[in-house]
Symmetry: C2
Subunit: 424 residues, 2 copies
Amino acid sequence: MTASQGARPAPVPPSPAPQPGSLPLAGLKIVELSSYVASPLAGLTLAQLGADVIRVEPSGGAADRTRLPVHPSGTSLYWAGLNRNKRAIEVDLTSAEGRGLVSDLIVRAGTLISNTERHRDLSYPELSARRPDLVHVQLTGRHNGDTAVDYTVQAATGFPMVTGAHPADPVNHVLPAWDVAAGLYLATALLAADRHRLLSGAGQYLRVALEDVALATAGSLGFLAEAQLTEIPRQRCGNYVHGTFGRDFVTADGHRLMLVVLTRRHWRDLLSITGVTETVAALEKELNADFAQESERFRHRVPLAEMFAAWFRERTVDEAEAALGSTRILWSRYRTFGDWAQDDARLLRDNPLLVELHQPGIGTYLAPGSPIVTAARNPPRPAPGIGEHTEEVLRDELGLSAQELRKLRDARVLGGPPRAETPR
Amino acid sequence: MTASQGARPAPVPPSPAPQPGSLPLAGLKIVELSSYVASPLAGLTLAQLGADVIRVEPSGGAADRTRLPVHPSGTSLYWAGLNRNKRAIEVDLTSAEGRGLVSDLIVRAGTLISNTERHRDLSYPELSARRPDLVHVQLTGRHNGDTAVDYTVQAATGFPMVTGAHPADPVNHVLPAWDVAAGLYLATALLAADRHRLLSGAGQYLRVALEDVALATAGSLGFLAEAQLTEIPRQRCGNYVHGTFGRDFVTADGHRLMLVVLTRRHWRDLLSITGVTETVAALEKELNADFAQESERFRHRVPLAEMFAAWFRERTVDEAEAALGSTRILWSRYRTFGDWAQDDARLLRDNPLLVELHQPGIGTYLAPGSPIVTAARNPPRPAPGIGEHTEEVLRDELGLSAQELRKLRDARVLGGPPRAETPR
């Protein structure tokens, strides 16, 4: 059991009733002992809903403080993105005294997100001995505790082998989708356990493994069942959408549109605007097919797509978009991240999700708030500097005096020397 | 305001305190009025944590009951995957009487997940007039209520343009990652609002737009800031991992491994097992680089990867895995979904996430539970048949008598004729 030189934390007050109009998680305090994507995203998600999330960094800052992409100033855009709306403290985690302070803070807050099992005194058994109703959510790589990262989980679980158009070449996804999903599962797990605690008084420990997130998703979408139960393994189909009629098409002026036809109405609309209703009826007869069925449109997607491709090739993107815009077909032009930034279509500025944020070390840019829209707004706040809230948090949450703080700083338990090298 | 022919629902009991050892969401009742991926995944996620999730389907079954992939019997593996652990009722949503029953059920349950705004009498203003503390989470396509699906959002928001190795060809991701993330945001939103309700008594309406999920994620990972603030737009880098040293390598016997080096220790290990420590030191000097820095390893990834590629080309996958297994480097063999199903490595059977499930219409297969591991276990339960729980739910939740149920069934408000056509 750890004990800081500060007094044992005072008994924890019951969760206060939120004020009317407050954010849903106002009053919830969470300590985040994390790095990289998934667990920081969990903390961000909950912070954006009003929780007070305190990220604990080791002396010199977390291992991911300098990750690419970076601003020309050297400040990490990645770090700034995933740590908005949080507070940050800097503690020497190699010292028992430093870990004791973090333990005190977790015991006081009552809720912990972590992706490390390095420190025994910050583990669930030790912490819950001090605070039995602790809620602790923990990210691991694999179910057995082995390490893994998004890109190794991608390779392990099958999606790169069915992505892209070129047989035999796996295509990794640039988006770390498993990290994102795992972060959101951690947030869900934390709130589920917190609900249980509010109603029963009992805390608990919950684990989420990155690989399990991928397998559960592959299972929920039918990929694992398909592989076990059908004779035809899932084939690559390039930019066609499996199971329905959807594909990308190139216009006369070289733009590209993604098109998805889900319903009979969409299908009739597409035949109508491209003027192939009769040709398709003839093809339907010839193939003995029924294109009113989604599965049949998928099955015969190649000859069908050829007809539409010819229509797109003869039209500019403006003409094609005007015709599609008169229907309920689902479509979108392909854009680059640069297109968003140039924002000719004012796509970012027209969306209340994004607001101007001034981030020290970076400047002012359009940054997103939570994609969860509530009546109470919570605009993005800048990510904290290294140790920005160390004294504030230890004073307000643990009651440390100015003298105690000074002593800890002199002993390098708080803050610490500037980093001489890359994290880890 | 709607009113079924049944009595006005009885006053709602307060949430019962969960039993010790129960699942975290035991006692939470949720009505799900949904289709496709995101909102059913939200319901599944919460059901797996112990909530009683009742999916409402229109007469004949939901629009996504027949989606691919399907079992040779015709039963949808996709539907079975996303609707496990739920109950299902079948109601004629085109009739005011049918919608009145659903309204009664939502008012009784107090919590609603939906992805449709088609029915005014099932909208938040109407429902919250009947139950002021209702929690309603709603999925939309875009922030302004426009429609969108995962594949159009992919095209709109930039990732396909930086995925894959072939310049100019966008690569759609096969995994509907935005649907998955949106479903998990919906689950998080619901639990956050439920927490607020437990503490304050107030309900609320929350919206999540699929496109906002993509933009928020692109923002949180630094992509949008990079596009706005730096002069070099994000480039495709194939299967290299942006910002660190990671890539796929092919072995002498044609297997492929994904390798990720995050830390200095990983890097030293990789140099050591591949025997290029001195060659790399010479290259470092020649390039005036510092490979101790993650960003420098990324910058010079191509000449570095060539050296390692030669090492892999000269070794079988067994030899390469043995060498890598002696280090802490992150790596995985690429697998197909078929590899999982064949399960030579017992990957599925060795993972407690997956258990044997008997699904009517499909048979027995290994299906995943929740990737959130809690002390209380919740093995997957089969997805319900169309209308499987209609009578049970209306009797137990709304107190309808056998006579009332018979009358409703005769009037085709419940159940309904077998579908003659594809959904919608």
